[in-house]
């Protein structure tokens, strides 16, 4: 069991990151921290995928390096996903700035209350 864990340490780390990210996304009352949680959650997925591509002793997928190589495809996916994540973060933060301008707070619970009472 311990060996299984050690052999899959990156996956374990990825799962824990997903847990931490989900906790912040759901549980934190500060809107900025929710967005940070979203980022942590996504990087957990990235870790999961990049770790799956790794082959011990292999080179990065630069074809000038000696074979074998790690799989390039997950890297491509993650590159795309990182950019997507940043874009989402930017829009989320833009929304937060606007919400602050309107309500003067970044507390999710307060904002929702005011929002419903309008």
């Amino acid at each position: 069991m311990i060996a299984a864990l050690a052999d899959r340490a990156y996956f374990v780390a990825a799962f824990l990151l997903l847990g931490v990210g989900a906790y912040m996304l759901i549980g934190d009352r500060n809107l900025v921290k929710k967005v940070i949680g979203m980022n942590v959650f996504q990087s957990g997925i990235f870790l999961f995928l990049v770790a799956s591509a790794f082959v011990t002793g292999a080179s990065a997928p630069l074809l000038t390096e000696p074979a074998p190589y790690v799989s390039p495809l997950p890297h491509v996916l993650i590159l795309t996903a990182i950019v997507v994540g940043v874009s989402l973060t930017a829009v989320a933060l833009g929304l937060i700035v606007r919400i602050y301008e309107e309500y003067g707070t970044l507390r999710a619970d307060l904002v929702e209350e005011v929002g419903d009472g309008e």
């Binding site: 929710k34 997925i45 929304l95 929002g115």
Partner: protein, 496 residues
């Protein structure tokens, strides 16, 4: 011919760039750009759909890179419906938005990007590519919700963003599992590879669970619907209509595509738990969505919960995986998009014309805005499933499909959903037609139609869009037999 499929995605993208840059030259020129773009896209979509429905499915390798190494675009009878639906609804809402606004060029640039994302989701045959378009759709939808000028629009948009991203991320995680298990991302390739891995593998199970739950968030199935009422309520009327009509619909299509093409019916047959996940969520959504809709006082929130319930029908049809139910699913997907979009437009008409946004404010509406009330009434009845409107036909096929599958409990829930739908819509009918408005003249013999211009700010285009939706909700029924026949080859591929 097949290059058209890629152009379907590219055209609205280019239109978006044009709309944004045109703003430098001239203010409020975005609407015209969007109109031209969508008209072109609609024509191309019709061509593609015609060729697919009268012939066979189109597979297109983007950039000439053959799948599974490159990305495949794939249009069959099911996606053909989405491909046509997206620009058609977008055009209808555009007619509404001309007067109702928002009018800025950046709004229409975002609008067209949303169409880009939705079209991409409809045509892609690659699981990760679907994620990318899912995020494009999401990102633009969040921005559009926030385009309302009220503070709560921003709050609703942020909530939508956080929950929506969570859902999309779960989808990505699920695809990650599928990739780790198979090493491929092409949908049809995944199907055979997953079968080779063995359906009992926990990896496949996790992939299914995360993909489905992630898309449940996007479709807004109970209890993952929490973003939806606020988003629909907070958005400007035109945006509510567009999003309510298309985003959940295309997400539901994506769910169907992934479940049937990637996981295949054999997977559901081999893993009863997977089927149960779909069926149970569907049943709960149908019932709880309706109950929540009954308890709403705000019209747009009520319509939002109605969507939760109606998409329960879609997922219920998916869970039984037979040809009849699949036809019902496709019909209801399109029918619901038209009906719900029309309802949001009608609700927008009413709030523009009279300021009424809550259920009680609809009292005596028939006297104040007879055309809007009539439109609303027809759409409501269509949604309840009064024949011969399209809402009935979708439900009919779905019920028949559940009967064929022997899913008695599900069939019962679906049949009773008619009454549940009635529960929240009948009171509106009653208020519109059989109560007098508090301030309006009691003897409103204004049944003689004077719809146009009876309220400031309500344009002919706005009326036309809503009325067209109502007419379409009835007229589409006539197209169902032909569509059903054309769907035959698709069903054979999806459900061998």
């Amino acid at each position: 011919m097949s290059d058209l499929v890629a152009l379907l995605v590219v055209v609205p993208l280019l239109g978006s760039l044009v709309a944004l840059t045109a703003g430098i030259v001239r203010d409020e020129s975005g609407w015209a750009v969007a109109l031209v773009t969508l008209a072109v896209q609609a024509a191309m979509a019709a061509t593609v759909a015609w060729s697919v429905l009268s012939g066979e499915a189109i597979s297109y390798a983007v950039g000439g890179f053959e799948p599974p190494f490159g990305i495949e675009l794939y249009v069959d009878g099911l996606s053909a419906a989405m491909v046509v639906l997206v620009p058609a609804v977008a055009l209808g809402v555009l007619a509404y938005a001309r007067r109702a606004g928002p009018r800025s060029n950046r709004f229409y640039a975002t609008y067209l990007l949303l169409v880009t994302g939705l079209t991409g989701m409809s045509v892609t045959g690659d699981a990760f590519n679907l994620y990318v378009f899912l995020e494009i759709t999401g990102l633009t939808a969040y921005a559009l919700v926030a385009s309302g000028d009220r503070g709560r629009s921003a709050v609703a948009a942020l909530k939508y963003l956080l929950v929506g991203t969570f859902g999309a991320s779960l989808y990505l995680l699920g695809i990650g599992y599928a990739y780790v298990a198979t090493g491929t991302l092409n949908m049809t390739d995944l199907a055979s590879e997953l079968a080779a891995v063995g359906y009992a593998s926990p990896l496949v199970g996790a992939a299914f669970a995360f993909v489905v739950v992630g898309l449940f968030v996007k479709v807004a199935m109970f209890p993952l619907h929490t973003w939806q009422p606020g988003a629909y309520e907070g958005a400007p009327d035109a945006v509510s209509a567009l999003i309510a009509s298309l985003v959940s619909t295309v997400s539901a299509y994506a769910l169907v595509r992934v479940v049937l093409t990637v996981f295949t019916p054999e997977y559901l047959a081999a893993v009863p738990l997977a089927r149960t996940l779909l069926a149970a969520t569907a049943a709960v959504s149908i019932v709880v969505g309706s109950l929540l809709a009954v308890s709403q006082t705000d019209i747009k929130r009520m319509l939002a919960y109605s969507s939760v319930s109606q998409f329960g029908l879609i997922v219920a049809a998916l869970s039984v995986t037979n040809g009849t139910a699949l036809v019902g699913l496709a019909v209801h997907l399109v029918g619901h998009a038209v009906m719900k979009g029309g309802l949001f437009l009608a609700a927008g008409l009413v709030s523009t014309g009279t300021g009424a946004r809550s259920v009680t404010e609809y009292d005596g509406l028939a006297g104040r805005m007879p055309v809007a009330a009539g439109t609303f009434g027809v759409l409501v009845l269509a949604m309840v499933g009064v024949p011969p409107a399209v809402g009935f036909l979708g439900k009919w096929y779905i019920v028949l499909g559940t009967l064929e599958a022997g899913a008695w409990a599900l069939a019962t829930v679906i049949l009773l959903s008619t009454l549940l739908t009635l529960a929240y819509f009948a009171r509106l009918l009653e208020r519109m037609y059989f109560r007098d408005a508090a301030e309006a003249a009691p003897d409103a013999t204004a049944v003689a139609d004077g719809g146009e211009g009876d309220a400031d700010g309500v344009s002919t285009g706005m009326y036309a869009a809503a009325v067209a939706a109502a007419l379409l909700a009835v007229a589409l029924a006539a197209a169902v037999p032909a569509y059903q026949a054309a769907l035959g080859p698709t069903v054979e591929v999806l459900l061998p």
